[in-house]
């Protein structure tokens, strides 16, 4: 397939259409409003549902209903909008209703700024709503990964009957980049016999709800779900390690900052500096074991964590590294973006320190 130049948010919409999304529900918020705009045009073309809801709270409950009916459903929003949806995530997790949610993150807290951010890391990776649950969270760093992961996310959601989130920052949503539409890995999805679509010759209809009033029963449900989350943790970890085989400084970053690190790394490697990038691609489940193993390598002297936040993922890095090597944090937030130069300066300072 030839490369085409797409705007991130439009491509996210098109990826969902190609993955067989039956219903898109959404509410505008910068910097992701082009997703609902694109879907309002595209979904009727393919005979599917687009609905602009009255709020993000309504949106997530529309996903709950559509997903419960066995349909592939999706929404997208940006940080404050995603915050409003958290109750629905929690309900869908216990009810085991799949959905795909894209968070095109902006700087916060509160209304914050419309410029890009990564300060929703904790919210995304710790469930976000009430109760014991997790969502698989994919964190692409470029447009090609974004369209591939949005497509795969529908299969992952259906396989585990759980919400799946794709987190990008506003920059990925807003930028133009060439992509190729190619086949993404498909999973074997069992028929949705649990969906609320009528009796179909059975003696009962399916009921989907989140109320577990009896503690023993709720405990049993949580235990069963926990087993499922542990399966997700075992099967779904993704990461990328570049130049880590001999790196003295390993930079840990995801999304847009990872890409800026790649540019810094390209320049530093040309100068003979031994720097590597460890990039979590799923931020839940986190590649803890892989990072821990890397921390144990003799050649690794320091870790540098780069985020567009005041330091959220750094806690997962800290947990993975377990004190084996020192960790330094470089973060900017509120819509600011790390620079190639600043990353290079941090790496060089760490190297100097190690010698």
């Amino acid at each position: 397939m030839a490369k085409e130049l797409w705007k991130g948010n439009e491509a996210i919409g098109e990826a969902a259409v190609r993955a067989g999304c039956d219903g898109y529900f959404g509410y505008p918020i910068t910097p992701q409003s082009e997703v609902p705009e694109y879907m309002s045009w595209r979904m009727p073309q393919v005979g599917r549902v687009f609905l602009q809801s009255e709020s993000e709270v309504a949106t997530i409950n529309m996903l709950y209903g559509g997903g419960a009916a066995g349909k592939r459903v999706m929404t997208s929003s940006s940080s404050p909008g995603i915050a409003l949806m958290q109750e629905g995530f929690s309900y869908m997790a216990i009810s085991e209703v799949p959905c795909v949610v894209v968070n095109c993150m902006r700087g916060g807290p509160g209304l914050g700024t419309i410029q890009p951010g990564q300060s929703d890391y904790m919210q995304a990776t710790r469930g976000g709503g009430n109760g014991d649950y997790y969502n698989v969270v994919l964190a692409p760093c470029n447009m090609q990964e974004t369209v591939d992961f949005v497509q795969e996310a529908f299969d992952i959601a259906d396989q585990y009957r759980n919400p799946v989130m794709v987190v990008v920052d506003g920059l990925i949503g807003q930028m133009m980049e060439p992509i190729e539409w190619h086949d993404v890995p498909k999973r074997d999805i069992p028929p949705k016999t649990w969906a609320t679509t009528g009796k179909h010759g059975r003696d009962h209809t399916n009921v989907i709800q989140s109320l577990e009033i009896d503690p023993e029963s709720c405990n049993a449900t949580n235990g069963r779900l926990h087993q499922k989350f542990m399966e997700m943790k075992k099967n779904e970890v993704r990461f990328d390690a570049e130049n880590c085989d001999d790196a003295e400084v390993v930079v840990v970053a995801y999304g847009t900052p990872a890409r800026i690190v790649m540019s810094a790394m390209k320049e530093l490697r040309e100068e003979g500096v031994k720097v590597g990038l460890f990039r979590p691609i799923t931020i839940w489940p986190y590649p803890t074991e892989q990072l821990r193993k890397l921390a144990g390598e003799d050649h690794v002297k320091n870790f540098l964590v780069v985020e567009m936040s005041e330091g959220q993922m750094v806690e997962d890095v800290d947990f993975a590294v377990q004190g084996q090597k020192p960790i330094t944090f470089y973060g900017v937030s509120g819509g600011a973006i790390p620079t190639i130069e600043a990353i290079k300066e941090h790496v060089m300072a760490l190297l100097k320190e190690a010698k």
Binding site: K3, W6, M175, R259, S263, I337, I340
Partner: protein, 265 residues
Amino acid sequence: MADQFPKALFDRLNIPSIKNMFITGHFGSGKTEIAVNLILQAVAESKRQIAAGRPDLVPQGCMPDGTPRKFAIVDVDIVNPYFRSRERQDLFEKEGVRLITSSQHAKNADLPALPGDINATFDQDDLFSIFDVGGDPDGARVLARYEENISREPYEFYVVVNANRPMTRTPEAAVEYIRAIEFTCGLKATGIIGNTHLCGYTTEEEIERGFDYTDKISSLTGLPVVFNAVERRFTKYLDREDVLPIDLYMLKPWEVAGDPEFSKI
């Protein structure tokens, strides 16, 4: 030749009364990059001609009485929250280009508000302005507000086209966009700017395909090709009289000016 305006553009602008140029096009066609390049090159062109003692030859270089023109870039993009020309304010200040934009005191806001000083572009005779208009008919709607002011004087209204954007892949689809933009703002396009590229992945084949594409749009619409924008690294095409060599000013944070390898990272 490489550092001069392409012939068609030079000829079209060589009418002293033209003082406003509008750059429109499909979402993501590259309007902002073109507008930024054009205003900076217009300033350079003006300085060159004045230095050569022939300001009368300058498109928009001098007023008929010999007073040098002033230049402005007018960012009326109210549909995009990122990658707007106002982000290069530093560059404009350095080159003496006046930046007219909504929310100058909150340049990161996405307010659908238009600044009062846009009126300067209609009222101030010595000001040559390039309008960076938001994408699609939605973005061009802004111009409808000023349709009366704009159409009172001669103007240039260009539509940027890129064959690699999915909605304008064919010349026919691009023509539909041109017509929709014209319909929305009530103004007629006066020329086409070709900008077929694939960021760091652009090849000579892409560029040549772009030349054919703009020619076809031109024959379908009767509108002239004012130029094809070509990144300066493709030296092979820079001497063509229908090419405007461009530099990339609207870089992504991991990109490095002049090295396309960083765009592919």
